[in-house]
């Protein structure tokens, strides 16, 4: 496969919830090594798109090509093995499990013990705060630390594509820079990142490219800088 093929390409995706269309005819792509931001108001369909990619909800129609293969009908566990990791909205860490167990669960698909240890070391290097909390239950962490844990857990399977759903939602503003520094570092190591955010300014600043979603469709796309300068985006999201 040539490097010019996108890592993931979503084409004409439609997703329904009990007859209500949440994503309608959505197309986008992400190339290897990119950070791609997805921004949009509440209910725009951002989370639904990520859920469809990770197989948690089924697409009604359309294609999700990952490394050239249509994964739209694959089971979630197969999709994880293919190299897609989804850090869901609301973090969803395993509260009663320790930080270490959460991280090891992130490496569930990884059979090689030594490789798992290497991933653990890398994750802890990205979020050093987790190091001293390894044997604490996840429920004892602050919201920001739980988000770090959720992201770190998401990197444990050594994904090619890491999808983050609103990593700064409900996090103390002081902690957000540490989380974004971690995301940058993960991207620098070669992981492609699909970043869903309502925190539009931060997301567009870090992204190579971005898409603006509205009622399940892409209404604008461009480089992070272009979108941040787009009058529509400024008016709708940046309060300018």
């Amino acid at each position: 496969m040539t490097n010019s093929t996108p890592l993931i390409a979503v084409r004409d995706l439609e997703v329904d919830y009990a007859g209500v269309r949440a994503v309608q005819g959505l197309s986008l792509y992400a190339s290897r090594g990119e950070i791609v931001a997805l921004v949009g108001a509440n209910g725009a369909g951002k989370s639904t798109l990520l859920r469809a990619i990770s197989g948690i909800v089924r697409a009604a129609s359309g294609a999700i090509a990952f490394e050239g293969e249509n994964i739209a009908s694959f089971e979630p566990h197969t999709i994880v093995r293919r190299g897609i990791s989804h850090v869901p909205e609301g973090r969803r860490v395993f509260a009663t499990a320790t930080v270490r167990d959460n991280l090891l669960l992130g490496a569930y698909v990884m059979r090689d013990r030594a490789e798992r240890e290497r991933r653990l070391a890398a994750a802890l290097a990205t979020f050093p705060r987790l190091q001293e909390r390894l044997d604490q239950r996840a429920s004892t962490l602050s919201g920001g630390e739980q988000q770090m844990l959720a992201i770190a857990r998401g990197t444990m399977s050594a994904p090619k594509l890491l999808m983050l759903d609103e990593p700064s939602l409900g996090i103390a503003p002081l902690v957000i820079p540490a989380i974004y520094a971690g995301i940058r570092e993960i991207a620098r190591s070669g992981t492609t990142v699909l970043l869903v955010e309502q925190n539009v300014r931060e997301a567009l600043a870090i992204a190579d490219r971005g898409y603006v979603l509205q009622t399940g469709r892409v209404v604008a796309e461009g480089t992070g800088a272009d979108l941040a300068g787009d009058p529509l985006v400024q008016k709708a999201f940046l309060g300018l």
């Binding site: 566990h77 969803r92 395993f94 167990d101 090891l104 669960l105 569930y108 698909v109 399977s157």
Partner: protein, 287 residues
């Protein structure tokens, strides 16, 4: 100083409770992982008891039969999940309730038909003596059953806490969607958990045959107690089960002695109602 029969009753209550715990841990495991209340749980126990009886006919005493029965019940449980419970789960929520209840009726009826309602006890019991320890008399068979249950419960706790499949089971019982996002194959782990839960009845059935007799309705009696234990301890809580089971064992034995043998379950249900009323999530349940 004469303390009367109390020490004796307490030891007996604890040994009884350990067996309740082994049965109930299977029930709570299945519920925790896939939200299925397995109404047929006791019937699997009954099958395991008959299997132990059957292996006795070819010369295996219950202790030697135990590993065979455990493996067989694990396989049976995994198959029942794969070909029955999985389908029920794809239907409306009531399907699971009526489905597993139907399985109860079916298995009990089948046992009645094939095994008749005669009581069967193993012909080659390995323990028959009585131990006298400082004024307490314990049947060797009862002691062996209780200690066997204790060892197996410890093994299950260790498995759930410290192994990778155990970690996956905990993840599933906490957040199924997040567990899927870790790459855990829900259907496979459900089958595994169902097998494990039924394997618990296999172990308990073999141990029970040291002191009990098998008959078609015996499962229902134990299942009723197991439901009380699980509700007491907190549905889905593995540690709660041990607490709930010891409580129920003690209350049952003490109640049977101080009130009347026929009414031994009365204080158990009173305790159950009190806990459910005051703490609906059970003693160690979360929410």
């Amino acid at each position: 100083m004469d303390v009367g029969p109390l020490p004796q009753l307490i030891v007996s209550g604890i040994l009884t409770g350990l067996l309740f715990a082994l049965i109930s841990v299977g029930l709570t495991l299945i519920f925790g992982v896939m939200d299925v209340v397995n109404f047929a749980h006791g019937e699997f126990l009954m099958l395991a008891m008959y299997a132990t009886f059957g292996l006795g006919l070819i010369g295996l005493n219950p202790i030697l039969a135990l590993p065979v029965v455990v493996v067989a019940m694990f396989v049976l449980g995994a198959l029942v999940y794969r070909f029955f419970v999985k389908r029920l789960l794809a239907g409306p929520p009531e399907a699971v309730v009526f489905g597993t209840f139907g399985l109860l009726v079916f298995l009990q009826g089948a046992a009645q038909f094939f095994f008749t309602s005669d009581y069967r006890s193993v012909l080659n019991p390995p323990f028959s003596g009585t131990l006298h320890l400082g004024g307490i008399a314990i049947g060797e068979a009862q002691l062996a059953a209780g200690l066997g249950a204790l060892v197996l419960i410890a093994a299950i706790f260790g498995f759930v806490e410290y192994t990778e499949p155990g970690r996956a089971l905990r993840a599933l019982s906490e957040d199924r969607v997040a567990a899927q996002l870790m790459g855990i194959d829900v259907q496979r782990m459900n089958a595994f958990a169902f097998g494990l839960g039924i394997a618990c009845t296999g172990a308990a059935g073999a141990l029970l045959m040291l002191t009990y007799q098998a008959y078609p309705r015996i499962g229902t009696e134990f299942a009723l107690t197991a439901f009380v234990v699980v509700a007491l301890g907190g549905f889905g809580s593995v540690h709660g089960v041990l607490l709930g089971a010891l409580l129920v064992g003690l209350v049952e034995v003490l109640g049977g002695y101080y009130i009347a043998p026929a009414l031994k379950m009365l204080p158990v249900y009173a305790l159950y109602l009190a806990v459910v009323f005051l703490r609906p999530q059970g003693l160690l349940g979360r929410r």
